[in-house]
């Protein structure tokens, strides 16, 4: 690493960025199926992720049906229920969010936003997608093997994950582990691309601190993923061996329904540590790209520079680093050495500080802005509301003593749905609306967008807010049915039914979204090349949607950061990154130089 170059002017300035060997497709198959163009791969990733995500969404309806109306649906047995939650959780976290943010948005946006023609290793990029698809197929296959998919919870804790008392403990769990291993291999290939592309293939003038925060978020999340997924890989490999070969890595001596098993001496907690050493960074892997994207949505639609850009970047990096030393906050009541609680409670709450700073900077971006309440903006605001709510409940759980009564209750479920199941999903929706005109060249329908937003935002909030209080009451998570207790009032059942009804409504509302997207892609109004009047490079492509190679014969040159909105003295309220200073006279005020009096803002 002693190779950091001083890229400063005082050094020999090398010529333009080395051209990536552009791969040129020759037939339909190489253009759209086995494509090596990052934009096509992005679309492939996104469609696959959304398709499998919809499966998980349907599973969540089934779960809600059971929880809201127990004893009503004969086809949902206890086995089935546990299989549903496991598949639901795993698909949503890994196969939907991780794949969509990094594989989908990463592939589409990184090259365009940093001014590259494509990813640095297009072939590896293509492989990455196909391995991901294979992982998804293996996962789907696990639903159709004898015994069904695993029902061990998405945390897959041994010993139960591989013992007969758990549904899907035969082929189900093995396929799950295989699928995860495949995902990790495929992801690593993609991840290499994102990191190397950001480091080496930026266009001239695009210094690190001129990158849009979207790229920063995806970049740091990718690095986290490269470092964290190995832990899951190691755990998955060792658990498969315990299952298949009968080794005892995680398996102590066990009496399984009256019979002593052959296992001996292993430590189940070892798996939990490995899992969460991966698992906690994982939740930030799905949060950081969301943080980045939402920053850009806010800045663009509030016509204001993102507030405190440098702090925002540093916060992303610091959060990323810290996320590796908080993992055991998932294990306060796991039976680990109890003295770890002090350390992990402290690190966990420290992480709230940089995160809070990000929240403040988002709302300070709105402050003194010029807010256009477009659909993406609405989703961004929805994100702030739900993220702050969910983040704050994280602070409850992070404080070891408070976690003791709340752990494994619906409070935890509410926390992570707010902060992960709703907030980033809102960002994804916002981002899809935002970049839809770029990807398809057409505009979506505004009214449908409004309806979709309000139903999803208010609905999701109404689903998960009450669950906190059920958790406080002591209603456990992962319970097929609560049946009789001495302490849960009858009204809790009603509340659960209400939640289920809302969940189904919100679920159905997604049809509006799908319809809007599909219909608009063919029939929507032709969109402006830069409908939001945004500064970043992806909006400055010569063709719309961008063609193969992204930028035509010459790569753009970047003269400014990504947030020159409402610069005093400028004619327009945005200056694209590739506009040189000479072309926008009178804008020195925005650049920290004394401002000509005539250009003082009105207020």
């Amino acid at each position: 690493m002693a190779y950091f170059i001083p890229t400063a002017a005082e050094d020999v300035a090398p010529a333009e960025v080395a051209e990536v060997d552009l791969y040129h497709p020759h037939s339909f198959v190489t253009k759209y199926v086995f494509s090596q163009d990052a934009k096509v791969i992005a679309i492939q990733y996104s469609f696959t992720a959304i398709a499998i995500g919809l499966v998980a969404l349907v599973l969540s309806w089934l779960m809600r049906l059971q929880l809201g109306f127990p004893d009503t649906f004969a086809f949902i047995s206890a086995e089935a229920y546990y299989q549903f939650i496991t598949m639901h959780g795993m698909i949503m976290v890994i196969y939907l969010l991780t794949a969509l943010f990094l594989g989908g948005f990463g592939n589409y946006l990184i090259p365009l936003m940093v001014g590259a023609r494509d990813m640095v290793f297009p072939y590896v990029n293509m492989l990455s997608y196909w391995i991901y698809l294979l992982a998804v197929l293996v996962l789907l296959a696990s639903m159709f093997v004898p015994g069904g998919p695993t029902g061990a919870g998405w945390t897959l804790y041994p010993p139960q994950a591989i013992l007969s008392g758990t549904p899907g403990s035969g082929a189900g769990i093995i396929l799950m582990l295989v699928s995860l291993a495949l995902f990790i291999v495929g992801f690593t290939m993609g991840g290499l691309n994102y990191v190397v592309t950001v480091l080496q293939a930026r266009t001239r003038g695009m210094s690190l601190m001129r990158m849009p925060l979207t790229v920063w978020g995806i970049f740091v999340a990718t690095i986290l993923a490269l470092l964290a997924f190995p832990a899951l890989f190691v755990g998955a490999v060792m658990m498969s061996l315990d299952k298949i070969l009968g080794t005892s890595f995680f398996m102590p001596a066990i009496v399984e329904f009256g019979e002593l098993s052959d296992y001996d001496g292993g430590s189940p907690l070892l798996f939990q540590h490995l899992f969460w050493f991966f698992g906690h960074p994982e939740v930030y892997i799905v949060a950081l790209p969301g943080f980045g994207i939402v920053s850009d949505l806010l800045a663009t639609h509030a016509r204001r520079n993102i507030f405190g850009y440098r702090m925002m970047v540093w916060a992303i990096v610091i959060i990323g680093g810290l996320s590796f030393i908080v993992w055991a906050h998932h294990m306060y009541v796991s039976g680990m050495n109890p003295y770890f609680g002090f350390f992990f409670a402290t690190t966990t709450l420290i992480i709230a500080v940089p995160t809070a700073l990000k929240v403040y900077n988002w709302i300070l971006t709105l402050w003194k802005g010029n807010i256009h309440l477009t659909i993406p903006m609405l989703f961004a605001i929805g994100f702030i509301v739900t993220f702050v709510n969910g983040g704050i409940t994280g602070l409850f759980l992070g404080n070891a003593v408070v976690d003791v009564p709340l752990s494994d209750t619906m409070f935890v479920v509410a926390h992570f749905h707010m902060v992960m199941g709703v907030a980033p999903i809102l960002v994804i929706f916002g981002a899809i609306y935002h970049w839809f005109p770029k990807i398809t060249g057409r505009m979506f329908n505004q009214t449908l967008g409004q309806i979709h937003f309000w139903v999803t935002f208010l609905g999701a909030y109404a689903i998960f807010l009450p669950l906190h209080y059920l958790g406080l009451l002591g209603v456990p998570r992962r319970y097929y049915e609560m049946s009789d207790t001495l302490f849960i009032p009858e009204s809790a059942v009603t509340l659960n039914a209400f939640v289920s009804v809302v969940a189904l409504t919100v679920g159905v509302a997604q049809v509006i979204f799908l319809f809007n997207m599909i219909w608009s892609a063919y029939k929507g109004k032709k969109a402006d090349p830069n409908p939001w009047r945004a500064t970043t490079l992806e909006w400055q492509t010569p063709e719309n949607p961008p063609a193969h190679g992204n930028f035509g014969p010459e790569l753009p040159v970047v003269y400014r950061w990504a947030y020159d909105y409402s610069v005093p003295g400028a004619k327009e309220d945005f200056i694209p990154q590739n506009v040189p200073q000479e072309e926008v006279p009178n804008t020195e005020g925005g650049l920290g130089l004394p401002m000509p009096a005539a250009h003082q803002p009105a207020e």
């Binding site: 950091f4 102590p252 001596a253 001996d264 055991a328 680990m336």
Partner: protein
């Protein structure tokens, strides 16, 4: 303070105001030494005591290395970029070592036949 520093210009931190920064460092060293003495003074015990003393020591060493020995911020930033990831894995290693000792002990205490 940090504000002022940022104002000093991102271009040449530490080079435009060499004297100012030396004074600042000197003050910090003073504060850190005072903190180390305070650990003694308040008779903090056990792991806390040693970890605090070590932390203060390392902070001081880092400061001296970074500034007085002219390695400056540049290398420090580099150093962090290289050193921090292994450190994070190291935290995992330490925690796991403690954890396996703990498991071993509970087994020794409560279980009949050393398995």
């Amino acid at each position: 303070m940090a504000h002022a520093e940022a104002q000093a210009g991102s271009h040449d931190i530490g080079q435009q105001h060499p004297l100012g920064i030396y004074f600042k460092i000197w003050a910090w060293l003073f504060v850190l030494s005072a903190a180390s003495y305070a650990v003694d003074y308040f008779q903090l015990e056990g792991a806390l005591r040693w970890s605090l003393i070590l932390i203060f020591m390392m902070l001081k060493a880092g400061l001296i290395v970074a500034v007085f020995m002219h390695m400056m911020w540049e290398r420090l930033a580099l150093l962090y970029a290289i050193v921090v990831p292994p450190l994070l894995v190291l935290v995992f290693v330490v925690i796991m070592a403690l954890e396996s000792d703990y498991t071993f002990e509970t087994r020794e205490i409560f279980f009949a036949i050393g398995p």
